[in-house]
Structures are given as C-alpha cells and as structure tokens.
Assembly symmetry: C2
Homo-oligomer: 152 residues x 2
C-alpha cells in the first residue's frame, strides 16, 4: 500500500469559507478524490472505510452533495453509470469515457468559453456546458482488434 501525503490545508480553508465543518469523513472524501479522480460514491466509501472504519455510505453521499452544491467538487454522470466526482473544478473541462471498460479521462475545454455558446440557444441563459466524448480507450481498441482476429 502506497502512502501519499496530501496537503489538505487549502481544502480546510475552502471548507471554512463555505461554512462547512472540518470533519474526518469530509476530509477523507476530498483526499480520496484527489488521489482517485472520477470515483463514484461506492468506491469512495470503500476507500474512506479503510481510514475510518465506522463511516457510513450515507455520510459519503451527504458530503458529496454538500461539496458539489458549493462547487468544491464536480459531479459528472455518464449515462448508465452512477455519479462520478472530481476535485478539478471551475475550468469547464470535458471528459472522455470508454464505452467498453468505462475508463474516464479529462480533456480541456476547446477555448475560453466557446463551449457555453450553442448554435442556437432558444433564449436560454447558459451557464454550463457538459461534454462527454464517448469512444474506446487505447487498451480496449487493442482488445477489439484481437477479438476480431480470433473471430476470423
């Protein structure tokens, strides 16, 4: 098991600013997301449980919602999966999701904010563009080629 030292001070300040108390579970959730971006509640729960054996899934969910509401973390929800969370926020970056294995990768926004300008906005006041690129990650592309060969 690898121990990674994280500086949680910036988060502690951020939580204070948002009038959120500094609880063990909350900090553990943030730490987990720093190390494992794009995790879902279940995965976070299992990781946090290693540190805080008595923790509950409910606490994980509540914290994820509280943090996401305040923009401290960001929630993405590719269809067919549970919600995923990440600490990288405020840059409107996008995601690549593998149809096969579910791998998730970040990719930058095209420009400063063109993503917030749809072709026709129907009078909508747009504040967020959520972009998911669906496809196959490199390993799954290779597996597909192997499978195709076998099928011949």
């Amino acid at each position: 098991m690898v121990q990674i030292m994280l500086n949680l001070k910036p988060y502690k300040n951020l939580l204070k600013q948002h009038e959120l108390s500094l609880t063990a579970v909350r900090l553990a959730v943030l730490e987990t997301l720093e190390i494992h971006p794009h995790s879902d509640a279940d995965k976070i729960f299992n990781i946090v449980k290693n540190k805080i054996a008595t923790t509950s899934k409910q606490a994980i969910y509540k914290n994820l919602n509280a943090l996401a509401e305040r923009g401290i973390i960001r929630e993405i929800k590719p269809k067919g999966r549970s919600s995923l969370y990440e600490t990288r926020t405020g840059d409107n970056h996008h995601h690549l999701v593998c149809r096969q294995c579910g791998a998730v990768r970040d990719t930058d926004c095209f420009d400063h904010a063109p993503c917030l300008e749809p072709m026709c906005n129907h009078g909508f006041k747009v504040d967020e563009a959520e972009v998911i690129f669906w496809g196959l990650c490199p390993p799954c592309q290779k597996n597909l080629i192997k499978t195709e060969r076998k099928e011949k």
Copy 2:
C-alpha cells in the same frame, strides 16, 4: 384531443432493416416520440396506454433499449433525471436543459464534426460527443426576476 396523422412507413422499413418485428407497442413508442420528443419511459408509457390499454412499462423499456441500441432513437440522460428519448438521430445535435423547469430544446452541432475532436484525446477513438448546455429557459428567467423583485 388533437389527432395527428403520422406516416409510419419509414419506421416500418427501418425496423425491418434491423430485423425488429412490427409490433403495436413498438410503433406506438415511435409515434409518441415523434410527437413528444425528449420524453421519458414513464411519459411514453402513459401515452401509449391510451392506445393500447394492456401495455406494460416493461415493454416500453425493452423497446426503448432495443431501438436505442440500433440507433433508431437516441437516449440522453441529463443528471438527476430519468433517460429521455428522441427520434432525431445521426446528426450529433446537442441539448439545452433548463435547471429550473427541466425544459429540453435541441441545438445544432457547431460544425460538421468538430464536436468529435476533443483538445486532447488520450488515444481514445471518439465516436460520439454528448453535449448538454445547462441554464435557464426564457420563462424561468422571467420568473426569477419576479422572485427577486418580491424579495426586495
């Protein structure tokens, strides 16, 4: 109640091409989606039930999945909502979703296919870009202004 006559022949051909049988429920689902784009399974179920009183939600779900798998319809899933379906496919168009009332509107893809080109693709082979623009629709913007005035 307004009766709208729809020509379902193109769909019948499409279903044949995909080796799907022409069942009453399936055609009713397609007809419903033509008239009410961005409907969820429950809404479709209720509308279809008016025509086919004995129908089941299970049949609706199975048909939606079968049609979506073959690209005959498209599924979108804004976070926090059930899956929505539409018959407009193949043009990689995007969606505007109102945070307040949930209204959904189509908006065209920016260009022919730039949406399929993320900044950095991490070696992914991308085949679809799913874009949801979040914001407020015109009526909800007005309501917000009213509410702000009242609060003063």
